[in-house]
């Protein structure tokens, strides 16, 4: 094949001289992790709220929540990203769009748009899991909560959600993994996250195999850590005598 493997490029200095190529990758890794974690926390909060609303008796609220899910789940992530970054600042009222474009540093703009995009996209998927978790509980649980005098919100808080979340730890793990992988799409608006740094490395060093192998390993590493964390969460919240608990 005639390809010249050269693993030492990661230690080499970049053309501008101030750092190494490995440091470029690591800064990309940092952006990917910060972006994905921030988006995940927001997605979890929003998704839980919307998922709960989908199950409430009020038709207007559950309809609204259903529309939210359909919009964010049924359009491509890339289209959503472009909408957040290119379209939304143009149509935001009260000068908010201009403030976004003029007062925020370009990097902040990219990070914010990417974070909101990933958060909303993922929240729709989290909402579906939360709804499924609530739906999987015996119907009598809600009745039992209400019969004790709990209000509907208290019934959700103390009776339904603690079990629903336990049931959906495995699918939530997979959404948590997805958000890191999906974050690579954000390189398309110029955000220098891990995938973008990998491509930059190729451009500068002409060593595509090493660059992308390194990028792949970093993503793998993130996901192995996430899976380990979620396994701990699952073990810690296991209910004795129930669903694989002792």
């Amino acid at each position: 094949m005639g390809y010249q493997w050269n693993w030492s490029i990661f230690g080499s200095t970049v053309p501008t001289g101030e750092t190494t190529y490995l440091a470029w990758l690591l800064s990309g890794l940092q952006v990917t992790v910060e972006l994905s974690l921030a988006a995940w926390l927001l997605a979890l909060a929003l998704g839980s709220l919307v998922g709960v609303l989908r199950t409430v008796p009020n038709k207007a609220l559950s309809g609204l929540a259903a529309a939210y899910v359909e919009i964010f789940r049924n359009t491509p992530l890339l289209v959503q990203l472009f909408s957040w970054y290119f379209v939304l600042p143009e149509i935001l009222p009260f000068g908010l769009g201009d403030a976004f474009k003029q007062q925020l540093a370009p990097l902040t703009q990219q990070f914010l748009a990417a974070m909101l995009c990933l958060a909303f996209f993922t929240s729709a998927r989290v909402a579906e899991q939360v709804r499924a978790g609530i739906g999987a509980l015996p119907r009598g649980q809600k009745a039992a909560g209400l019969a004790l005098g709990f209000t509907l919100p208290q019934t959700y808080r103390h009776v339904l959600l603690p079990m629903a979340f336990r049931l959906i730890v495995p699918p939530l793990t997979s959404e948590f993994l997805n958000i890191f992988k999906n974050s690579a799409v954000c390189s398309t608006i110029g955000l220098l996250e891990l995938a973008a740094q990998g491509r930059q490395l190729v451009d500068y060093t002409a060593q595509p195999y090493e660059s992308f192998i390194a990028v792949t390993l970093f993503y793998l590493l993130i996901n192995v850590i996430v899976m380990a964390l979620m396994r701990i969460v699952e073990a810690r919240t296991r209910v004795p005598g129930y669903l694989g608990g002792k």
């Binding site: 009745a143 039992a144 004790l148 005098g149 709990f150 009776v159 005598g241 129930y242």
Partner: protein
Amino acid sequence: MISIQNVSKHYGAFQVLTDCSTEVNKGEVIVVCGPSGSGKSTLIKCVNGLEPFQSGSITVDGISVGDPKTNLPKLRSRVGMVFQHFELFPHMSITDNLSIAQIKVLGRGKDEATDKGLKLLDRVGLKAHADKFPGQLSGGQQQRVAIARALAMDPICMLFDEPTSALDPEMINEVLDVMVELAQEGMTMMCVTHEMGFARKVANRIVFMDKGQIVEDDDKDSFFGNPRSERARQFLAKILTH
């Protein structure tokens, strides 16, 4: 205590309850029986507003259940309910199951609520299981905890919705014993059940339902001795044969 007047309920075109009326006076034990699908469970769930109804009225301790202005959570906190499938909260220890509503609904302190819960747990003979979780108990034990949980709220009356139907035969008696004791202490009770032995022992009246209607509402001796309707006679013949 509980007054049900001309209650009707339908799901779309399907009539579940038709013009049901009955009373449960203070200290009385009423057993509601009838074939499956006759509307017994629906009727008892209407009493604490878990099921809405379209016409008629139900009052509990003088408070109208169907009135949109009624504070239903408050009313429900005064009416104990026991379900067919126990419905303990699986993620909480038995102690927490017994105390959470006392704390969150009645505003009792944690120590007071725990003490009260443990006392009642002792009463249903399960003190040793306080730190276990519902999934670690048998069905009969779970149902006794569920009764204790309802009693912990100091209810003015108790509703039982087929409390022994999901139990193994061996466990039915331990639950019925608790219910008999409760009845003998003067608790006002409305029980949907097929346990005719229980009915004979403690019921003041039997309400027999069929196809959403109250066919008979009689004291127990006339009901068992000489049921007035053909339908009740058939029903009794079937369940009392063995």
